[in-house]
């Protein structure tokens, strides 16, 4: 169950990890808007490269590269798809670039979108994130649901493993049989898991009520997120990025590889 290892967040400290999640989210949003504004390959390349300093400062290179690898399947698909359609009807390509350049650009744009979110999640721990949610105007019920879900992921994963063991010990062979049989093999695992989840949520509800859930409309908070110098810097960077992107889009003629290469 190594997938769920990622949820066991270690308390890492770096200039990026320590940033207020709301500010990081703003930055990601700006990245998103900027990426969507452009079809031009050189610009998208710049946007992609802009993420690398953040990744390095946060020290999450290995995980980031792993998420890049994970995205490759869809990226390749997008590339091929756009390439085919580009060749079929080259007149529909904006900017009049070659189908090859366009396909690269679209694939890269997707990568920029995905990777900026990836950096956000890699540098924000679940408790930090839930705290940010609490302090934004998100209703507490949603934040609580989010936090509780994250809290119980490793528990449910372990329970699924125990249930699988219990059924294997009764002769259940998950790998045997044709496709339909294999799906049915999972019923003895899913049902106990679901029943257990329902029982668990009942116990949780009892505990919540017994500790004053709903006592006051104005919940107070043990922690408070305070914006520091680094956060303001990131806000400034984001604003500069947004303004530059708008300026470049409307006032700067952009070179494309098609133009630069000899015909």
């Amino acid at each position: 169950m190594s997938v769920f290892e990622g949820f066991r967040f270690r308390h890492v400290s770096s200039p990026i990890h320590n940033r207020d999640p709301r500010v990081k989210f703003l930055y990601v949003l700006v990245m998103f808007i900027a990426a969507v504004m452009f079809n031009e390959l050189p610009v998208l390349l710049v946007l992609f490269l802009l993420q690398i300093p953040f990744v390095l400062v946060a020290g999450v290179q290995r995980q980031w590269l792993r998420s890049l690898r994970g995205a490759m399947f869809l990226v390749t698909f997008l590339f091929v798809f756009n390439l085919i359609f580009g060749y079929i009807s080259p007149s529909t390509i904006p900017g009049g670039v070659s189908p090859l350049e366009y396909a690269f650009a679209m694939a890269l744009r997707f990568l920029v979108l995905v990777e900026s979110f990836s950096v956000f999640f890699l540098t924000t721990s679940p408790d930090h994130l839930s705290l940010a949610l609490e302090q934004s105007r998100v209703p507490y019920e949603f934040t609580f649901a989010f936090t509780t879900a994250v809290r119980f992921v490793p528990v449910l994963a372990e329970e699924a493993q125990t249930i699988m063991d219990a059924q294997k010990a009764r002769g259940l062979e998950l790998e045997k049989g044709n496709f339909m049989k294999r799906i049915r093999n999972y019923i003895p695992i899913l049902i106990p898991l679901i029943v257990s989840a329902i029982r668990r949520s009942l116990e949780l509800a009892e505990a919540m009520e017994s500790r004053g859930w709903g006592a006051s409309k104005k919940r107070t908070n043990l922690y408070v997120l305070k914006m520091k110098a680094g956060d303001f810097m990131l806000i400034v960077i984001s604003i500069i990025l947004l303004v530059s992107a708008i300026y470049v889009r409307y006032f700067v003629p952009l070179p494309t590889l098609t133009m630069l290469l000899p015909k």
Partner: protein, 274 residues
């Protein structure tokens, strides 16, 4: 016959749960694997039916290494009753639940029907044959889980923490049941930290601490030895604790049972009178 040969086991998370465990269990024995939570008891017994395979060393069941046969094949011989029955109940009726394993093992329909009826009778569940297992009480669900394992008549039966959440009466019934199964020739292995329960059953005790076996032998000998119980961080039975507090009067300390304690004290007093 189960043989554990210098077994080491490390979980994928890196936790080393077994650090060189060796042990033999003969057919028809009654063994209690004891120790604190986290000592490695459950990790050890999961090696017996192949759910876990040793990272180093080997486990032989009837002469065959657990690495060489499938879990399903091992399960046929080694039945495992998990601590929480809710981790296995999923059928629409108790009947179906008991039949599940029998179907997995390829029993013919006639034999299957007979076995199900037999198991229902044995555990006093006949009236619940067509009931949904989810409608039953906690104690009844435990019996369904036990019935579903006994139905296929494994040679060895492992019970993981069978006394948790049980009241005194339920534990007494369980104890008698275990004795009965053992008398019928089954090898019974219980994993438990319930010292009082073990004191009443008096089986062979294998005491574990931090992934190793620290003692293996007669329940009375082990549970009354203060050095051993300290090492394994377990609490001796209450009767033993009483006698450990009276050693200066020349009383023996290897007493775990209430009736025996009464006898010993009466004899001591008789002796005093003379």
């Amino acid at each position: 016959m189960i043989e554990v040969k210098d077994v080491h086991f490390t979980y994928p998370t890196g936790v080393e749960a077994l650090k060189g465990v060796s042990l033999s269990i003969r057919n028809g024995e009654f063994v209690a694997i004891m120790g604190q939570n986290g000592a490695g008891k459950t990790t050890l017994v999961k090696q017996f039916n192949g759910l876990l395979k040793p990272t180093k060393g080997e486990v032989l069941v009837d002469g065959v290494s657990t690495r060489d046969i499938s879990i399903a094949q091992l399960a046929r011989k080694v039945g495992f009753v998990f601590q929480n029955p809710d981790h296995q109940l999923f059928s629409e009726t108790v009947e179906e639940e008991i039949a599940f394993a029998l179907r997995n093992f390829g029993f013919k329909e006639n034999t299957l029907k007979r076995r199900v009826t037999w198991a229902l009778n044995l555990l006093g569940l006949t009236e619940y044959r067509k009931t949904s297992p989810f409608m039953l009480s906690g104690g009844e669900r435990k019996r369904v889980a036990l019935a579903s394992v006994l139905a296929w008549n494994p040679k060895v039966i492992i019970l993981d923490e069978p006394t948790i959440g049980q009241d005194h009466r339920q534990k007494e019934i369980l104890r008698q049941f275990i004795v009965q199964m053992n008398a019928q020739g089954k090898t019974v292995v219980i994993v438990t930290h319930d010292v009082e329960f073990v004191a009443e059953c008096s089986p062979r005790v294998v005491l574990m601490a931090q992934g190793q076996i620290v003692a293996d032998g007669d329940a009375k000998r082990i549970l009354t030895d203060p050095d051993i119980t300290l090492r394994a961080a377990i609490v001796p039975p209450q009767i033993t604790q009483i006698f450990l507090g009276l050693t200066d009067l020349g009383l023996p300390t290897n007493v775990i049972d209430v009736s025996e304690a009464t006898k010993v004290l009466l004899e001591y007093l008789e002796g005093g009178k003379r």
